[in-house]
């Protein structure tokens, strides 16, 4: 029978590094059923019968976060044969908090003391043998990064599993031990002996997820009486009593085991963070970095390559060559039109922006890999907290910069249901990868590559999130205090060129694949609808089925400045995939016909849009309902009713903002007072009122109560 070893430890303690060292390429990566938390298991090298399970990094086994619940359910429910607890030796006290909990599970535990090189560098010393005696379990020094003693740690865990000797729990103060002993006596008939201590602690903490079958109401009442008595005696709640006791025990263990280093020296990461996350410089640096990212990728470096792709590849090379071939073999005219105008026109228009997107992917990969991206969540927490959200809500938005689907799924990590809903509604305001071609198209075609257009798309998204947070938090549905936010900032490090290029390549390949599948099919469908009428006769675009459909939609968007049926249809096709907006423009504006000189294509588009209507179009497509895949993700997370609310809100918000942009932009040029401008003024007034109106209860109740006193 095989041996199961679970790797448990704090986030960033080196667990995954150790896992990779122990299992090599034999790992299998998946998700824990029903949750988006990574499940990694693999065969231990050299031991075909030993499976290593990498658990999510957790600070404790309390059931507050998904990771904690998953780790705990596995350790208690599936009971591995041994736990290899990776402890970051440079943060001993914090890591030992979890260790005290693991020792209560009734499973053999081996502690792997990682990052000892860091401790020695800081001038610290750890008495490994003493720590082992105090914990009552083997302790092995390792360096997971260097692969030192990892195998010894695994073999120690195998020996512990084979011996089957459960670890001894740590002892707390006498009063607490007495209380736990009483509860243990009450629960032990209903649980395995080795887990009696664990269940005693959980029942004392009133942990609702730890339930034993067979515990009668009478016994539960006795347990509750014991708990109440202990709380009265200590004048504190049960959970705090245990938490404090653990911290005290962890501190005692850490002090006894280690001589702390001399004065803690600031690392390079600490010094950088002092500036990058400071109250004064943090936001300006963040704004400057994101501006540069979008400016470099869309307006400068990326544009040079995109011009070549549009003008040469999809202008002078591919369309003439394909047309020549099709004519030479005698292909039917309508099929030539499908291939050239539909497929090449549509897909080519989207692929034309690939160079800009690759540059953007490269820069975003650098920011992510070097460690700066997570600092943005920390910065945003300070800002978001003023508007009722927390930085935890920004992490899905960071993920949403790539794709909205995983961004929305990442909202599962937000415990507060209201905040989770609000985050799911607002995550797609941040431009995802699919919206980048729209940004690049508008910036390039209609603003002549103006430097401010592409960065503004990102900042408008952030502003939309903040405004939505303020507006929704003042409603009864979303009112409430923001959740606390604790996060660990990993140290900065210079990413390798190889990893950056791999990330860039993966995303670029996925983009090309999407162009060859979803966009290809959508463009073929668009070509068909714009080439035939309802009697299936081949007609001009203006008499086609698509024009008829677009003609119904177009008046809705006329106040936004783009009442042309082609723009309306393109926005609609964006629901399938946002890149489709560009693909549809490519088909409807004849990208393949005029792409010998890309400027002609832009010129054709410029006849339909003014500067104000172009920017209005851009913002509408950025803020309105996301693609069907993202809407599906919202439905899976929030259910049907909230999905309708989310989509409705996003479309309404996008419409209102786009209306104001177009009407004010046009007024700035024409100085003419129109009904549209009047509507924009009303919308603005309503918007301002929603932002500044007093908050709903419970804040108002508290204020009234305070005033009455």
């Amino acid at each position: 029978m095989g041996i199961q070893i679970a790797l448990a430890g704090n986030p960033n303690c080196g667990k995954t590094t150790l896992f990779n060292a122990l299992t090599g390429s034999s790992q299998h990566v998946g998700n824990w059923p029903g949750v988006t938390v990574e499940k990694k298991e693999g065969r231990l090298r050299g031991h075909a019968d030993v499976t290593v399970q990498d658990l999510p990094g957790v600070y404790s086994l309390s059931p507050y976060t998904l990771e904690e619940v998953v780790a705990r359910d596995y350790l208690v429910g599936e009971k591995p044969d041994a736990i290899l607890n990776i402890v970051d030796a440079s943060n001993l006290e914090r890591n030992l908090y979890l260790t005290t909990q693991l020792l209560e599970l009734g499973v053999p535990v081996v502690v792997a003391l990682n990052m000892m090189d860091v401790v020695r560098k800081q001038g610290g010393v750890i008495d490994v043998a003493g720590l082992s005696r105090a914990l009552g379990c083997p302790v092995v020094e390792i360096s997971a990064l260097r692969g030192e003693h990892c195998v010894q740690a695994a073999e120690e865990a195998i020996r512990a599993a084979q011996a089957g000797q459960a670890a001894k729990p740590q002892r707390f103060d006498d009063a607490l031990e007495d209380t736990l002993g009483q509860i243990e006596a009450l629960v032990s008939p209903c649980c395995p002996p080795a887990q009696a201590r664990w269940y005693a602690v959980k029942y004392f903490e009133r942990d609702s997820r730890a339930k034993l079958d067979g515990l009668t109401d009478a016994v539960q009442a006795k347990i509750e009486a014991v708990i109440v008595s202990a709380e009265d005696a200590a004048d504190d709640d049960a959970e705090s009593l245990v938490t404090n006791a653990r911290y005290v025990r962890a501190a005692v263990l850490a002090r006894a085991a280690g001589r702390p280093a001399g004065q803690h020296r600031l690392t390079v990461s600490d010094r950088i963070d002092r500036i990058v996350t400071s109250r004064v410089f943090g936001f300006p640096i963040f704004a400057a970095i994101m501006f540069l990212v979008y400016y470099i990728s869309i307006s400068t470096v990326g544009t040079m390559m995109t011009d070549w792709v549009n003008d040469v590849l999809f202008g002078e090379l591919i369309p003439p060559a394909v047309e020549g071939f099709l004519v030479s073999v005698g292909c039917a005219d309508w099929l030539q039109s499908l291939v050239l105008d539909g497929v090449i026109g549509g897909v080519g228009a989207v692929l034309g922006f690939l160079p800009q997107m690759m540059v953007l992917f490269l820069l975003l990969a650098f920011l992510e890999d070097c460690g700066y991206m997570v600092r943005i969540a920390f910065l945003m927490d300070r800002l978001f907290r003023r508007f009722g959200l927390s930085g935890k809500s920004f992490i899905p938005m960071l993920i949403g910069m790539g794709c909205g689907v995983p961004g929305i799924m990442a909202t599962r990590t937000i415990e507060n249901e209201r905040d989770r809903r609000m985050t799911a509604i607002t995550t797609t305001f941040i431009p995802c990868g699919a919206k980048l071609p729209i940004i690049a198209l508008i910036a390039g075609a209609l603003f002549d590559g103006a430097w401010w257009v592409s960065p503004s798309a990102y900042f408008v998204g952030v502003a939309a999130i903040i405004c939505t947070g303020i507006i929704l938090k003042k409603t009864a549905l979303f009112a409430g205090d923001p959740a606390p936010f604790v996060m660990e900032l990993p140290p900065y490090h210079l990413p390798t060129v190889k990893s950056l290029l791999i990330h860039m390549w993966e995303r670029a390949a996925a983009f090309v694949k999407k162009a060859g599948t979803v966009i290809f099919l959508a463009c073929a469908a668009i070509w068909f609808l714009q080439s035939f009428n309802f009697r299936l006769e081949m007609v001009n675009a203006g008499e086609s089925m698509l024009a008829a459909i677009g003609g119904v939609l177009a008046p809705v968007f006329a106040p936004l400045g783009w009442g042309d049926w082609r723009a309306a249809v393109a926005a609609l096709t964006g629901l399938v995939a946002k890149e489709n907006v560009v693909g549809t423009f490519g088909v409807l504006f004849g990208f393949a016909e005029v792409a010998e000189d890309g400027a002609e294509f832009w010129g054709t588009m410029a006849q339909v849009f003014t500067a104000a209507s172009a920017y209005s179009y851009l913002i509408f497509n950025l803020l309105c309902a996301p693609c069907f895949a993202a809407i599906g993700a919202v439905r899976r997370e929030l259910g049907g009713k909230w999905t309708l609310i989310a989509v409705g809100y996003q479309c309404l918000f996008a419409y209102a903002v786009a209306l104001c942009i177009y009407q004010y932009g046009t007024f700035a040029v024409t100085r003419a007072f129109t009904p549209g401008l009047a509507a924009a003024l009303v919308v603005t007034a309503a918007f301002v009122w929603l932002l500044v109106r007093p908050a709903k209860r419970p804040e108002r109740k508290l204020q009234r109560a305070a005033a009455a006193e």
Binding site: V29, N31, T36, V37, E38, K39, L326, V329, G330, C331, A332, L335, L338, V339, V343, F361, L364, A365, E368, P396, L398, I399, G402, C403, V405, P406, G407, M409, A410, C432, G433, A434, H503, E506, R507, A509, A510, F511, K513, K514, G516, T517, V518, F520, L521, A524, A629, G632, A633
Partner: protein, 43 residues
């Protein structure tokens, strides 16, 4: 319909079929196309 038209149409149909198959495969795998480049979103 001449032979060339038929062959080009068949090629397009095959491409469309592959595209549909790819999309259905992606749906079965939970919607991941790798395009977000951020596996932290799902795990």
């Amino acid at each position: 319909m001449n032979l060339a038209t038929f062959l080009v149409l068949a090629a397009l149909a095959a491409a469309a079929g592959l595209a549909v198959r790819s999309i259905r495969k992606k749906k079965k795998s939970g919607g991941c196309s790798g395009c977000c480049g951020s596996c932290r979103g799902c795990h």
